[in-house]
């Protein structure tokens, strides 16, 4: 009997310790996050000597499916990696302001013309000088490609050299998000001479003007970057070597942070900040992003009830985005409309028509559509916090009598199921969009003829598409805000893709090993945007 008594004793002791455990977990508020400077979560200590090896861990090595051509990269996790070697004409600064990068300045003689003045002394990592021909060639190549980003560039009419070191882009009509569209990796400037003479294949080789060059890559295992010694920006990158380890398991990334195997890691669990609060020399920060989760309802699946606008509207009404933000994201996210919450000019999600209605209205709509006992499968990937978001959605829809079965899979399988066939075979799926730096940009994905990737499950809505185009033409100001409000209302009624909540980015770093720079906000899903500034305190 001794083992049994011992087991009972241990169990009782554990139970007692649990009951006596600390009170409810508190989430540190944003105010508690040490703010190094306005717009920043952290600023690298420039007094530290440059050099050393920076070890980073992320959860996924995406890009293998489409290759490493930046123009064809279509997910934010790939953009993040490619941004280490490639650069764009312009970039985003704190608070989403468009800033110079390869273009040191630009003129806008009228609302359809942009003249970019290229920075002097920029070379590709093979030592060849960047020319205006590279810029013209890159943008023309992008427009001629099947890149999803073509739709974001807007109505480009002509791209031409405008004397030495200048490039002129003429638009067919005004397009407000143009500069913000140029700030993302698919609009990166490529070594066109080498691409044209086929000495470089951008699908397999990374050759850009960026701070790092690839030294080694093992798919789904690691990337090793070394500093581009010819980098134009003096003093950058600070770290000589950047190791990026792919660690899909969150626990592995947390362990690496705790044992010093990683100096910086991206985390998915919204409670990471609380869970690592006691870890020595580890600091966790949450970056506010314009990225947001959305629910896809497949209206093209034969025989599906989700093809009925009333059914989709009922689902939209039954969703409680406030609860999703509070429960699934631990209060770190916020409800959003199709224009990302947090961007100037975005719509108020509380003012959407669906927000004013409740489960009873959803039930009425379902009854009208003859779908009282609606049941469907929600396909999700298993990366946190998506499963938590899905489970709250399931609870929300249960209030309206809708039964949701959750189907969980890895990101590659999920992508194959959602985007692999047209018409797509899934009922509903959960994903997230980068929200970018202009509130009109992400709305373009609500037109499947522009986006392309969702044409397998989404029917074009002419009224919504027209509203999106109209908002793109309006210059920033009250008139554009009204145009965007119309887009939000139309997307809310269409409900083929339902915006849910913003997606916070959690980053943890070792304070004894690293002094990083991190913006407080991010629009393109790029946590490593300022990695060239990071100072390594000691190499492990």
């Amino acid at each position: 009997m001794r083992p049994l008594r011992l087991a009972c004793g241990v169990a009782a002791a554990l139970l007692a310790s649990a009951c006596a455990a600390t009170g409810p977990i508190t989430t540190p508020t944003d105010a508690a996050q040490e703010s190094a400077a306005p717009g920043y979560l952290a600023v690298a200590d420039q007094a530290l000597a440059p050099g050393g090896t920076l070890n980073v861990q992320v959860h996924i090595d995406s890009g293998a499916a489409t290759g490493y051509d930046p123009q064809l990269a279509d997910v934010a996790t790939t953009w993040q990696l490619l941004s280490l070697s490639y650069e764009t004409l312009v970039t985003v600064g704190p608070d989403f302001a468009i800033q110079p990068l390869l273009a040191e300045k630009w003129d806008t003689p009228d609302d359809r013309t942009y003249v970019f003045h290229l920075r002097e002394g920029v070379t590709f990592s093979n030592g060849r000088k960047l020319t205006a021909d590279d810029v013209v060639g890159s943008l023309k190549r992008l427009l001629a490609s099947k890149s999803v980003w073509v739709g974001q560039l807007g109505p480009v009419d002509e791209i031409a050299k405008d004397g030495d070191g200048k490039v002129k882009v003429t638009l067919k009509e005004p397009y407000t998000p143009f500069l913000a569209a140029l700030a993302n990796v698919p609009a990166a400037i490529l070594p066109m001479k080498e691409i044209d003479d086929k000495s470089v294949d951008p699908a397999t080789t990374l050759l850009g003007t960026g701070p790092y060059v690839v030294e080694d890559h093992r798919q789904d295992v690691s990337w090793t970057f070394r500093r581009n010694d010819a980098y134009w920006n003096q003093g950058k990158p600070a770290a000589d070597v950047l190791n990026i380890t792919i660690a899909p398991e969150e626990a592995a990334r947390i362990a690496a942070l705790q044992n010093g195997g990683a100096a910086l890691a991206t985390l998915g669990n919204v409670d990471s900040e609380s869970m690592l609060a006691g870890a020595a020399d580890v600091k966790v920060v949450t970056q506010a992003t314009t990225d947001f989760y959305y629910l896809m309802l497949n209206s093209l699946k034969p025989g599906s009830k989700l093809a009925d606008p009333k059914v989709r509207q009922a689902i939209n009404i039954a969703l409680d985005t406030k609860q999703i933000a509070e429960v699934a994201l631990g209060g770190k996210g916020e409800p959003t409309a199709v224009t990302p919450a947090g961007l100037p000019g975005s719509c108020d999600p509380a003012a959407l028509p669906s927000a004013a209605k409740g489960p009873d209205e959803a039930k009425r709509l379902l009854a009208e559509a003859g779908a009282e006992n609606l049941s469907f499968t929600l396909t999700i990937f298993n990366t946190e916090p998506a499963p938590a978001v899905a489970q709250v959605i399931q609870q929300n829809l249960q209030q309206a009598g809708i039964t949701v079965k959750i189907e969980q899979m890895d990101e590659a399988s999920w992508s194959g199921k959602v985007y692999g066939k047209a018409p797509a075979e899934f009922d509903a799926a959960l994903s997230w969009f980068a929200g970018y730096a202009d509130p009109g940009m992400v709305t373009k994905w609500w037109n499947p003829e522009t986006a392309g990737f969702n044409a397998g499950f989404m029917r074009p809505d002419p009224a919504l598409s027209a509203a999106i185009d109209a908002a793109g033409k309006e210059p920033a100001g009250a008139a554009r805000d009204r145009a965007l409000a119309e887009v939000c209302a139309q997307a809310d009624a269409d409900a083929q893709m339902i915006p849910l909540v913003t997606r916070p980015a959690t980053v943890a770093f070792r304070t004894d090993a690293l002094s990083p720079s991190l913006y407080a906000t991010e629009g393109y899903g790029n946590v490593l945007r300022l990695v060239a500034d990071a100072r390594v305190k000691k190499s492990r």
Partner: protein
Amino acid sequence: MRKLDRLSIGGLACLLVLVLFALGSPAGAGGDPDAIVGPRLQPPGPGWWLGTDNLGRSVLPRVMEGVGTTLLLSSVAVLVTAVLSAAFGILAGYRGGYLNELVMRLVEVLYSFPAIVLAILVAAVLGPGQTAALASIVLVTIPLMTRLVRAAAVAVAQRDYVTSAVISGAGLPRVLVRHVLPNVAGTIAVQGTYALSVGIAVEGGLSFLGFGVQPPQASLGVLIQQGGTYMIAAPWLILGPGVVLVAAILAINVVGDGLRDRLEPRETRSLT
């Protein structure tokens, strides 16, 4: 035959309590396991006696559902194992020859895989979910039970009453079902209890790794996996399912020992 000892009766009582605990979930005791009932990550208190999880769900009904899922899944899998092992083991042991060689080599191939590796392999082929968990438990538990049933059948096949039945003209099915099966039933029952504890551990391991039962449905493995993430910050999440898992495996093993002593007394136990 001996009576079950007090320890075995205690184990049986513990199992009974767990089964009743699990039956409470579909009956609505403890509340809806998926319902969001309060703030996130609250320690045990009124309204949520085992605390709340990271989605504000009460842990108590989730543990109740988890016990039910794990016990049901493991029991069904072990039943399938018992039927298949009895069929193959008895046939191989009684007939011998090529059939015996074929069954034993297949069993050895399965036996050569570490249990959790075999389970992950099955889950990778079938995809995560209950079917994968069930198939994994069957494949992990079938080799040992088949070997033991076959060994028992070899011994029984040489007994006089079997020879008499054959001489008196009984056909193969009758000999196997009427004369061999009843005499290896004790081995199947004893081994079934051990397989049940292995099944619970395999289900827990698979779900812990994300290949088994999928959320929001709770199983002990799913709950321990979720609790493990919050082990320092919210220990109550792992405590409930952890204690229940230990209790279930301990109780089943104790009952198994008791059954073995009752059905296969030491003096009659074969070492083959």
